[in-house]
Symmetry: C2
Subunit: 343 residues, 2 copies
């Protein structure tokens, strides 16, 4: 079974007695070709079963209509929603999307960066791995003028494109909400502090305590490695075993928050009366656990869409007005039963 020969612009040219360049231009809606000719050529191309070879075009332009994505792991609710938004937007604009997972290892991120670079992507969307602390592996893209948009887990550098949420305010509001419920010993499940998202959430927590004249008790601030379910259970046990246990927890993600609820319930602790809990992300599990978990809503799909738009817009611009833009999306406090003490 031999593969059938592909139709090229040369075949169309021959048939129509035009030159290949005319065909090429018509197919790309070049203005210098008359409306009629363009229409005719497109019609015949379709009839002949012509398929543009994007590889050839990419080689010629040294740019493939492709957006690369670097993320930690696909199979997490937030990340897969993010990708969904990117894919949707990119595809509408005729771009492909290549994904690469770092599994939160810096080493993998470096390798993936190289592969994507060699694929001549026209833009890169990055959410940093947990380990990543330097950006040298991304320098190449910047040097070549390939736009990079960082999203969610971003570096601290100022002169780069970012699409983020206001983690600080979200952390502040979540904590404030707990205070308003009458809680005064509020624990915090904190993620790795070199990652902006977790650092900012903690900052918001600390400032909320201060602004409301509550003491900061370091025993109540638990440093997590990965905010996993197991870690959450252990942390909750330690907290509940304290001479003065907390009356609330603000967790930097939902997984750990849910584990806290489930563990505390097992110990006979009443949620939210004895322990109010609030999480972050609104993962599906948040609305299933009982009592339902209050949390911070993350506009994941929208973040993806905006990131992709940013890339597309740069790809379109010939000129180089590369003023880095930072988009900060609003979050929303979603109060469910796990934190409602009164009423």
């Amino acid at each position: 079974m031999k593969a059938k020969k592909e139709i090229t612009i040369y075949d169309i040219a021959k048939k129509l007695k035009y030159s290949p360049s005319t065909i090429s231009r018509a197919l790309n809606d070049h203005e210098s070709i008359s409306k009629n000719t363009t229409l005719l050529i497109k019609k015949v191309a379709k009839e002949m079963g012509y398929r543009p070879n994007s590889l050839a075009a990419s080689l010629r332009n040294n740019k493939s209509k492709t957006i690369g994505i670097m993320i930690s792991r696909i199979n997490r609710p937030f990340v897969s929603s993010l990708i969904s938004g990117i894919e949707e937007t990119a595809r509408k604009a005729g771009y492909n999307v290549i994904i690469s997972q770092s599994n939160d290892k810096y080493e993998n991120e470096v390798i993936n960066a190289e592969t994507l670079y060699n694929s001549r992507i026209s833009g890169l969307i990055v959410s940093l791995s947990m380990e990543t602390r330097k950006l040298e592996h991304l320098r190449r893209f910047m040097d070549q003028g390939i736009p990079i948009v960082f999203v969610d887990r971003v570096p601290d550098e100022l002169d780069i494109h970012k699409v983020i949420i206001d983690n600080y305010t979200a952390g502040y509001k979540a904590t404030q909400h707990l205070i308003e419920q009458g809680c005064s010993r509020i624990a915090h499940f904190a993620g790795a502090q070199h990652r902006n998202v977790y650092r900012e959430r903690k900052k918001g927590y600390l400032d909320a305590l201060k602004d409301h004249h509550l003491p900061v008790d370091n025993d109540l601030i638990v440093s997590f490695k990965s905010l996993s379910f197991g870690e959450g259970e252990k942390a909750t046990r330690n907290l509940l075993d304290l001479p003065q246990p907390p009356d609330a927890i603000f967790s930097a993600n939902d997984t750990a928050a849910v584990s806290a609820i489930m563990y505390a319930k097992k110990r006979g602790i009443k949620i939210p009366e004895e322990l109010a809990v609030i999480g972050f992300n609104d993962d599906p599990i948040a609305s299933i656990v009982e009592p339902a978990l209050s949390t911070v809503i993350h506009p994941a799909i929208k973040m993806g869409q905006i990131s992709a738009q940013r890339i597309l817009q740069h790809a379109a611009e010939e000129d180089e007005n590369n003023s880095p833009e930072v988009t900060v999306l609003p979050t929303e406090l979603l109060i469910r039963d796990s934190s409602k003490k009164k009423a």
Copy 2:
């Protein structure tokens, strides 16, 4: 800021006084080049900062080292795990992965197929959209000898590559388990019957009833459009309002199963005593709902890995021994509290 010029094999050739062909061969570990020369060339290439242009290679070979994926939606636990497995395996082999979402629309699937085809992917992994009933949009790939592997939601055709689970047996065992718990009026939440996965699960359910001499009551078989949470609640309400309500539910997915548990609890129904429930997939929500949901475990990541391997292996083979392989992976019944009536 001008983009720096890229190093090509010509640059290396000039520097080393070899011909470009020798450089190319050395870089690809061609056997006809001596060990020493190969080593030298690779060393210098690295020093000069050479990056292979995979676009050019792809054009030349009319094949890009890329695997295309067509799925319904990325942001679902099963699908994102599947992709994760594919990506991991493909990347190790030096392949990129392009994703495209159909959002369960046939129309989108057709467009995506065309785009992927034009990208000269070397293989395609497909999980069909809910709507898809014909495969014409995939014919092109077959005609060109581009391997397609169908996964999970597959067509009924026999002469194609498939990676699936044994939905029939899973459905049978799930139902049988409920019967063993003493249930006799077992309802079924059924998905669209033109999709193999749901049809087979239902078949297993029906046969289990028959084999255990239980009557099939059509009032207890609910046809779902999308097995969503809302649909699940409604179906459960209708079932519980029946003159003779069911004493168990086997749901074709976890979302609907969880919704049934939560709704029934609200009505004061005891789970599992009055209503045993079992789902399908082991989504994260399954272990969070209370009582924890019994379910069928789906080896999603593994299915992805195997699918990718199948593509890679075909890409490697020069010859055309295209005997279609069907891989059926085992599932496992995971019994949690939602279905344990005794002990």
